[in-house]
Structures are given as C-alpha cells and as structure tokens.
Subunit: 317 residues, 2 copies
Amino acid sequence: MINKLVEKIKKTGAPIVVGLDPTLKFVPEHIKKAAFAEYGETMKGAAEAVWQYNKAIVDAIYDLIPAVKPQIAMYEQFGVEGMIAFQKTAAYCKEKGLVVIGDVKRGDIGSTSEAYAVGHLGQVQVGSTLCRGFDEDFVTVNPYLGSDGVKPFIKVCGEEKKGIFVLVKTSNPSSGEFQDRLIKGTDKKAGEERPLYEIVGEQVAAWGAECMGDSYSYVGAVVGATYPEQGKILRKIMPKAYILVPGYGAQGGKGADLVHFFNEDGLGAIVNSSRGIIAAYQQEQYAGYGAEHFADASRAAVLDMKEDIAQALASRG
Amino acid sequence: MINKLVEKIKKTGAPIVVGLDPTLKFVPEHIKKAAFAEYGETMKGAAEAVWQYNKAIVDAIYDLIPAVKPQIAMYEQFGVEGMIAFQKTAAYCKEKGLVVIGDVKRGDIGSTSEAYAVGHLGQVQVGSTLCRGFDEDFVTVNPYLGSDGVKPFIKVCGEEKKGIFVLVKTSNPSSGEFQDRLIKGTDKKAGEERPLYEIVGEQVAAWGAECMGDSYSYVGAVVGATYPEQGKILRKIMPKAYILVPGYGAQGGKGADLVHFFNEDGLGAIVNSSRGIIAAYQQEQYAGYGAEHFADASRAAVLDMKEDIAQALASRG
C-alpha cells in the first residue's frame, strides 16, 4: 500500500491528503435539511448528512489527490450511526481509487492493539470464516505504550501490505508538553540530551526497517507542519518513513514550512488539509461558490494547495 | 460519577473493576454455536456471541462489584456490529447499576478530542437536539498530545459529572520504552532527572485539581499492577487521583503488589481483572464449573479476587 501511495502521489503530482473530518457546522444547510427531513435530528440524521457531504466532496476531488484521511472521532461522536458513515466513507473512497488513511490514533497493550489492527487493517477470525471490519489502507498509531503496542499493527501491515503512521511530533500547540521533554543520553549517545520525539522517531525508523516497501517503509510517522524545524531533524532520523504532515492551512502551517518534510526527490511526505478543503466554501477566498457549490469550492482549494506546495518545493533551490 | 464510584466501592467492599474484553476464544462453544446458527459466521454472529457472553457474566456478578471496563478494541475488531455490542453492553451494565469505564484510550488534538469526549461521555448537538452516543461514565485517555488533547475531556467531565483515567504508567512489558525515559530537570526541580511517567503524573494531579469530586478528582490515572514501585511514587504525586490498576492476574500482578496503589483508608485505587474473571472457567482452578457454568466460575473468581485484595490490604500493617 505504501507503494500504491507513492505511485499515486507521483501520478497526481499532489502530495496531498484530504482530511474528511466533517463536523456538522461544516455541512451546508441544504444537506442537513434533507437528512434531518428523512431521519429527524437524530444520530442517523447526522450520519446521513455527513455521508452525503463526504460523497459530494469526494466526487469533486478524487481525480486530483492520492489519498483521504477520515478522522474517526468526527464519526464516533455520532455513535454507532457515525461509525456506519465512517465505514461507508472509507469504502466509497476506496471504490474511487483513493488510499484511505484512518486517523484513529489507536494504541494499547499487545493483545488489544492486535484487535485494533485486525479490526482496522486486517481480518478477524469468526468461527472458520475471516471477516473484514473497517478495512482502511493505513491507520495512525499512538506510541505511548511502546513497542508491544505498535508491533501488532506492524505484523498485520506485513500480512496485508498495509501501513501505519506513528505519532511522533503532533501539530497541536501543547504537543511539546511531553513530546519535547529532553531525555537523558541513551547508550547510543551518552551525555547528549534529546527531545522525546527524536527517540520516538528513531524507534519508528527501527520498526520500519522490518517492514519495507520498494523505496519507503510501511511504517510512517506523523509530524506536524507547525513544527518545521523538528520536521527537518526527523526527516533525517527516519529517512525511509513517509511523513504524514497535519497542521497545514487552518492550523497555521504554510507551504514554505513544508519543504523540510520532503526528501530531495520531492517524495517522503504527504500533507493533510481538512477544513481548509472540505469547508473551503465557508472561507472568504472561496465564498463566491456559495453553499450550494461547496464541492466545487473544495476542488478549487485542492488545486490551490497543490500549487502552493509545488511552488514551495520548486523554490527551495 | 467519581463520588458514585467511591460510594459503590465502599458498599461492595470490592475495589474491583471487571474488564469485559471478550475475544471469541473466551466465549464458550455453546454460545458461539447459538449465535452463528442465528446470524452465521459473520460480524453480526460474533457480536451476538459477545453480547450473550457479556450479559450472562454481568448477571452473575453485578451485585459484587462497583464497575466494569469494556475494552472497546475487542468490540471494534468486529466493525460496526461490534460497536453495537459495545453500546448494548455499556447500557446493560448501567441498567444493572454498574459504573461503566470505557477503555478507549482516545486522545487527539483539541477539536478532535472534543468529538471523542462528547461521543463517549457527553452529548452531541444535532440541529436543535442533543443526542447521546456511547454514554460511558468514564473513559481512559492517552496523554501523548499534551494538555490540549486532554482538556476537552475534562470540560465534558465537568459538565456531565463524569470522569477520565489518564494513561500514566501502563502495565505492558514495553511500557518503559518511552514512559520510563529520564527527563532533564524541570524548572520545579532543576538538576533532578525523573522518568516521564512522573511528569505525566504531576500533570494529572494539576488537571485533576480543576475538577474535584467530594474526596477524589474526576481525573484519575492508569498505573499498571505490574509496576508496584512506580505505583508507590505515583500514589504520592497524585494524592487525589483514583488509580485504575490493570495487569492483575493474567498479566502477572499479585495482591501484595497492589497495596502501594491504595491510600491509607483503603480507597484511591480500583483494580482491573479481565480474562482472570471472564474466562475463569478456562483456568485450572475453576475448570470444575465447566463451560456451561462459565458465569458461575466468573462469580467465584470475583469473590477470590476480592478476598486476595482484602488480605493484602489487611496485612500491610
């Protein structure tokens, strides 16, 4: 799947993943009205609104981009009905040829991580039958529990040729609270003090070495666009890890900040934008499209983002 | 809800939470057979088996214990059908008067954590209506993203009088890989080096101070029974945090290891056992019950665990 992702990035020329994170305040009124008319102001109504919204956006942009990243929390908030919408969205995007990165940030002790891994990436044994659950192509994984929380995912990645992105340095303002803590020198580099995210990054590189695609590993990393200097260092620590870069656009990351996350060949990173794309019609720049044509606004925003990143990469000299 | 939890622990005399983590290999054949006969070897069949298994165990033990802790991964592995079984289990346990701790280990950037918080503990706005999703009483939270990933949960806890348990030092063998890393002295104690879990523990105490119940905070912590020495230190760092202690029994934690997690008054900790209780009939000690009477075996195992903890607390002098 990492090979497919790289292939699709080359083909589209767009190292972009669109975050399908539909809160109801992004969904245009006419879609909500239709959904609530059919199912009432219920979880089912909310899930229907989200699904219709997603579908229209995907239809408008699927030819431009390699991948989507549905944030499962935005579905999980609507309970079981939301989870149905999550699954429908993931399946629909795959039908459209998109790589689906489930932003689930799971991670637990070994046997429990195994259940998450089979439920999201693999197959679960039911009697003598193998069944597939949410069936994403990649998921994001939280490393706080260490190797035995991450390895069950890697095992399933190996079996299924799928991948993970491990949280290393997240895009949010307080990510430094624990991730930036300076760690006492390890055996490797005694005496030196380095932030926790570097230690996690090294571990990502080690995990990834066990599970390589053609040029990149099935084990990638999440590093926020909001921390370009850290991105530069982490790029070197994890040369074979694809970096999923959130935080572009609405969270404050700019095109010029992104160059450090890429390798020389223009590969190695995929930049996420969520509300910047899916709620483009609510921004001044794209307001002319109007709520009726929200999906066209999303398409325009994808094209602009593609241009912004291409320019930044071209001008890095 | 923390007050209710403390009240129920006092009333039952059992600082015990039973982990409802039903993998199919724990579910007796006769239950699987009936479920598969009705729904086939499908996700729905698996979810039905899990639900019938849970229900029988809860019916057999609900009067003995204050709380249950369903591990959502064990349901999520069965996709949407599994999530329905999770919700049904949580609702049924609440009907029986049990406090429900959703072991979800969620945690994300601010707006996303907010979605998890309303979906699991609070209410979500759909049009002009407020709807409830999974509606647990407590959830577990992963702190790797820092304060802005945790505070949305605390906000909902304040509104709903519910609670969280933040992962501090987890029970698994590799928990030390990042959690035990020695952190360079902070402003508070310059020059001293302390493990990351202590820093997280201090933050738990700080978060918890904003959200107090009668004697304990709505913000608790997870500290594994497998690390009693660390438990001793963390008990002091977070005097007002209830400690959820996994790792007893199957993972290797013993009664005598548990005393450090409790305060002098015998409160302050609640010990989890999962397969030790729910799959008791598969253990030599309770094999006499047979698979038909698996729920009675679970009841016996709860009574033995209660006795084990009571003895350990009595003999600490």
